[in-house]
Subunit: 479 residues, 4 copies
Amino acid sequence: MDDGKLAGLVTQAANYGLFDRLKTLRGLWRDIAQSLGGAPKIDPELPADDAALLRNQVRECLQGRGGEVSARARAATLGRSYLELNAVGRRNFLKMVADEFGPDTGQVDKAMADVAKASGPAERHAAERSLREALESPRQRLLTQFNALPEGVKFLVDMRAELLPLSKGDPAMQAFEADLKELLSAWFDVGFLELQRITWRSPALILEKIMAYEAVHAIQGWSDLKNRLDSDRRLYAFFHPRMPDEPLIFVEVALVRGIAGNIHDLLDEHAPVEDPKKADTAIFYSINNAQKGLVGISFGNFLIKRVVDSLLHEFPNLKTFSTLSPIPGFRTWLNRRLAEGEDAILEPAELRALAALPAKGEGAPQGFAQLLDSRWVDDGATAQALRTPLIRLCAHYLLEKRSGTSRALDPVAHFHLTNGARMERLNWLADTSDKGVAQSAGMMINYLYKLSEIEANHEAYRGQGKIVTSAAVRALGKG
Amino acid sequence: MDDGKLAGLVTQAANYGLFDRLKTLRGLWRDIAQSLGGAPKIDPELPADDAALLRNQVRECLQGRGGEVSARARAATLGRSYLELNAVGRRNFLKMVADEFGPDTGQVDKAMADVAKASGPAERHAAERSLREALESPRQRLLTQFNALPEGVKFLVDMRAELLPLSKGDPAMQAFEADLKELLSAWFDVGFLELQRITWRSPALILEKIMAYEAVHAIQGWSDLKNRLDSDRRLYAFFHPRMPDEPLIFVEVALVRGIAGNIHDLLDEHAPVEDPKKADTAIFYSINNAQKGLVGISFGNFLIKRVVDSLLHEFPNLKTFSTLSPIPGFRTWLNRRLAEGEDAILEPAELRALAALPAKGEGAPQGFAQLLDSRWVDDGATAQALRTPLIRLCAHYLLEKRSGTSRALDPVAHFHLTNGARMERLNWLADTSDKGVAQSAGMMINYLYKLSEIEANHEAYRGQGKIVTSAAVRALGKG
Amino acid sequence: MDDGKLAGLVTQAANYGLFDRLKTLRGLWRDIAQSLGGAPKIDPELPADDAALLRNQVRECLQGRGGEVSARARAATLGRSYLELNAVGRRNFLKMVADEFGPDTGQVDKAMADVAKASGPAERHAAERSLREALESPRQRLLTQFNALPEGVKFLVDMRAELLPLSKGDPAMQAFEADLKELLSAWFDVGFLELQRITWRSPALILEKIMAYEAVHAIQGWSDLKNRLDSDRRLYAFFHPRMPDEPLIFVEVALVRGIAGNIHDLLDEHAPVEDPKKADTAIFYSINNAQKGLVGISFGNFLIKRVVDSLLHEFPNLKTFSTLSPIPGFRTWLNRRLAEGEDAILEPAELRALAALPAKGEGAPQGFAQLLDSRWVDDGATAQALRTPLIRLCAHYLLEKRSGTSRALDPVAHFHLTNGARMERLNWLADTSDKGVAQSAGMMINYLYKLSEIEANHEAYRGQGKIVTSAAVRALGKG
Amino acid sequence: MDDGKLAGLVTQAANYGLFDRLKTLRGLWRDIAQSLGGAPKIDPELPADDAALLRNQVRECLQGRGGEVSARARAATLGRSYLELNAVGRRNFLKMVADEFGPDTGQVDKAMADVAKASGPAERHAAERSLREALESPRQRLLTQFNALPEGVKFLVDMRAELLPLSKGDPAMQAFEADLKELLSAWFDVGFLELQRITWRSPALILEKIMAYEAVHAIQGWSDLKNRLDSDRRLYAFFHPRMPDEPLIFVEVALVRGIAGNIHDLLDEHAPVEDPKKADTAIFYSINNAQKGLVGISFGNFLIKRVVDSLLHEFPNLKTFSTLSPIPGFRTWLNRRLAEGEDAILEPAELRALAALPAKGEGAPQGFAQLLDSRWVDDGATAQALRTPLIRLCAHYLLEKRSGTSRALDPVAHFHLTNGARMERLNWLADTSDKGVAQSAGMMINYLYKLSEIEANHEAYRGQGKIVTSAAVRALGKG
């Protein structure tokens, strides 16, 4: 990866939280590190000489001289140095840790030999334990020290967010990343997470982050957010006790009558507020993972179950729990299919309907592929002509598996099927925003969580790769 | 270990918390487990047939059918079964888990072979990771599932308390215990702990546990406790977010003028309350580990540092931080020394002083050894005759190392020396309770935490085994 | 009232709270008062010279020199002086305030004249307002200043507790007391009260006060209290935001099946804990006003309604809400009736049954009156013979009115009838404690709160003095 | 007042809070009122027939049938009816209450007669008390009932805000308003207020109100607000326990080095954040009363003292406490002075300087008066020419008294002088916003709170009307 790309990555990562946090951390950690005297001045690109300085800091952290309080000061010093590095410097530093602070090969080999020659279970047990210890890398102890720092857990989460793209294709970096993931997995065990309802009474600090982290249906500002927190809406988030200001994952819910099929209706700030006690349906219309550094450490499943429990407790009249979800991979898949030629993928009647559309003048989009890239949703006749083929193809897409696996191709489908939901209803012109058209051809899908079927659906999907659908969706997919 | 002893162990463990918890857990977990139907009725001694039932439950937990919510229900079912077992049944169950749910030997061997034949660092990294995974035992996954249960972490902590005595001399049980310790160590990392001040405003629920867990100077009742929480006293405890009702470790502090040398003065409920703002010295007069199941997972060091910070913030006038500590191993050590003969361990002048004591009548204790076992502290003349030899011998004891190590023989001394304290002053007739006389010959010692020397002391002790003392204690030890 | 009695009163008032509070207030207010220099040393009996000093302090408080912060310091100084007085000194001080700091007679007369000669409504309105202001006494402004002090509201509440017995027969003191009551009534308006559930998680500080303030069925210690807070019990208290550590009134509730008729069953610490979800009945078995200084400022009615709401929310299965109450005036009333002669108040059959009791030996109690003063509840035969007449007479008593009023004679009956309850069931041998026998001849009564009838009952009692009873109680009262 | 104006008043009052509250109250109170059956449909203008309905509702509230819970339901019904009225209807309703539910004239007359003929102090005391009771109007009891409703206190505060403008020139309405003020004064006694620091962690609900209520230097949006809550800023507000979502008064503070003389520097979102620990000066740059309905119930004085205490506790290095305040009445006063002719109020040198300004072309402002109404602050030369006369005249204005009183003419000056501050420094071009130019000719003034002088200043101003100033301001005022 060249340095230009790297710079981009860091810029990208410099979202809301990171910037503010940098400022805060510098202050907090300076005080803690103070007892050790001033930190050395380091070039942000971390050339070899400065890398040697940091290597030394890492070693001092690992030696653990002077008790745990000193250890904390040293970790703070190292952390501050890291925060001052730019993208190139950070890659250099992470690479150094990956290459130099992994498990000791000699010790591992010796421990393996001891296991191999162990006579009897007693010796074997002891030798296996030594082997496990030998496989624990020094950098794991290093990382653990950051937990004792204020905001230290968030620091590690963000470090993993930076490490993940850098580790592609680099086994040493991957091993480092795996160490970090193991640590975070233990700490972020679902038992430690706290479900909180977010309301207009929540701290502005938290609400500001919800706005920054919402990536499915971007929040336009404070009044949009306030609307999503009104009395007929709910927003729940998981928090961790060591990152109390950072939502980990959150879900937005609308309390309505009947399954909602249009996202614009739900987000309309001017729509009247309904009495939530009269609602029979809860629509999960946006689920967001807020922390890139926790990718692969899953709690979405638990979130939905906990939210369903909480909603049922507050509104015993709720009968139906459903999502209103994007189909993010559809157009990408469809574009690939278009390579087969329009004749190959469209039915004769569909082709005829398209051909019958009146000409729009020079340069106007024509033909299936071109139309798809236009704002066709704004033109009634075109939309009408596209409706049948798009719905049919989308149903096909949704039932498709990722090549060579028993896993649904669409990532959102995979998430909800794993949780035990079923594909319930495909909604036409459900999200006509530019993003909605570009990703999902304006369609959205309801995944239905029927409490009595969740376990069976989950098993069927996990075990035999069965994609559970309603009869309606199944019929479309056969079309 | 025979079954009689086992029964005793469980009775012993059935302290306050456990009994109440059993009641609570049964209720809480019944509701969670309910979805799975009734649990099978199991004989508390867990004969082979019933063991097979539980083996099955463990396997179902590990298969993870039906998503995480079902997993939670299964863990609750298994946990409830465990809670119904008696001491024999629990040993049988733990033994089964130790023997049958450790790492898979075949997988480990294969993974080791892969590491051995790895060509190049990339392959080696990947193979090492696989080896680590192979070494992770199924029972670790099992234990992790309990974290998602209410009170589940406390359940595991208590299980370790039961496992520890059973694992002596049994490598499989030791390996199991090591797995559990590893898990708890990650969760109880010092970064997760919260320091709380305990006051008369604290929940009665917590105060009741403080009373039950205080083992150094037993609390006689609510009014004794209230006295220890008065305005010139402080009590701090560490808590964990997943065990909010359970203190992990706590320390009791008296704010006084000058270093205190007598525990009875500090505990006297009728002593006048002093103005804490005028105090120049904080005396740590009792430090208690409250959770047997967290033995070996240390946070005492951090506690003292955090408490010193907190006290300094509230009372900037404090100049001196010192303990008033028992010397629990002295009499045991002295008893062993007595085997050498009184002439060998006492100075001529000391022998003469003892001989000069007037006779007390038939059957009254005579001679050094006999006197030591009597209530000599109540008799002025005897105490006077014993003073010189006991202080001298005690100073010798305190400076002694555990055989073959560089570690102080006395466990309390080892704890404070590791933390960077120094031995400051030996106090005669400082604890004349029966326990104080029986363990420490009525003496207590101050360990001084001088902030500017802590790190150096810690290093000197840890590195070279140097026991740092005041000149006065050193002089006594040379006598 | 002579000084001996006075001293007694203060001793009596020196209950738990007052003593601790004195200590606290002295400290808190010293700091606030400090800016004014040391307070003058005052003789606790407040002789004339010292009274002049305090008179001056009161005047300075009223002049309000130097802004509100200075006013606060002066109030603190005055408050501290008051706290140092003994019973005689306090009476002297209160008398001085009563006599010298009431409304200005001249101003009142002038304002009345202005009202009288007002021409037209506009002048009348203005003159009436001036009259109201003239009637506001300086001491009211004085008392108000204490609100700005920490614990100042509690100080005034306690001052009223001291003032009440002293004001009997003294119109000036009564006027002072009325001023204080008016102030407290505004502050303790029911809208400001907060209902809190008291549990074993409540601060020990609060629990200790609950124990001190429980006067109906004394709490024997912490384990008795813990039992009353178990999962099948509830304890609710009202608090005021300016007295957060002081319960104002509290009620103890047992969740049971069917209406309970025996207090010992409810208080038995060894009785098994029932599943509260299966309860169909809530028994209010103890209601206590905790603050003597709030006598006549009623919130008991609101408490019961709020507790019923809270219970119904938590336990929708509850069908019946009832008290189990003492009949505190019965024996006093019966003793008066006994003057009529046993023949006059007992039925022939009852007399015969008593006569038929076997003789118990010399000096043993004999006859109705004598037996009543003995521990007859412990003797089966005697109790049997007393049962019919006592129940009959008690029912008569309960239906009796206070002479010349439409108000029930029994004060507890009056309280619950005013709230809209009805007399439901008389319980024989329901409270056989010494106090229960001495006051209520061992009987207790259930007052039933039937939600659909409360308003009608309340109106019938308040309007026409109708005592609503069940058919059973009515029948007994006719006997 | 004609109905058009009335409608305007209500529209004006329909600020943020009111609108949201209406929605909320309707819901909350509907549930409470439900037990009484549906409220009658009432014409929002409240014609005579409908007024009769409400008159009846008021009477029912006062009769208090059915206990306090029913009373609450009736108050809720009445409150809901009121909320549905428009401006005309509300005036009609308030007028009815003012005219018909005041004190009973007959009872007052009788009670006055009893006072007049009282013989001896005992009778007099009793009679005065009866007179006080007779003077208490039924509507006071009515108003008190609203305290028991959720949001009921805020309802009364807002009702007073509506009543105040309507009561001008109407003695009956004034008497009603005085009743309401008396009630609110008791409830909003400074002892009940809670100081809270507002931060970016505060609920968005509160922050939104701060933005709506800030009237001195309007907050432009969330990022402006966030800037005012940064680490070198503080915002404190007083709250009342019965209106926890409503700030009563709040103050904004900047922590700086030296006394600030320019408001734009303080409000600049792009200015660097300073380390507050290095600040030596706290600038109170905005103080806002948030509740129109609490006009005349003062707590500003206490707020400043409490904030100073809080700041000193957090930042012991602070040496200086000063405001940066507008001079809101200056231009109005100056406009009146201009009637005397420019020659009369300007010095010859000042006139010459103005005359020397180069001509700006046709229609451009000329002469002192015309220039003052222009954006002269943007033109260096003009501003220079205006500087001397404006500063001189402003100092004159600041030292002027309200006609016939010893009170400073400028309301902000009066507020701070009453609190014991002194006029410290006049700042040229300190607020060049349109509002700043229009009100204060772009100037601002620092009122200095010197802790050691506050009490003396307060007394000097309150007693002898002395306006305390620095030598510099005094010199300007003499010019």
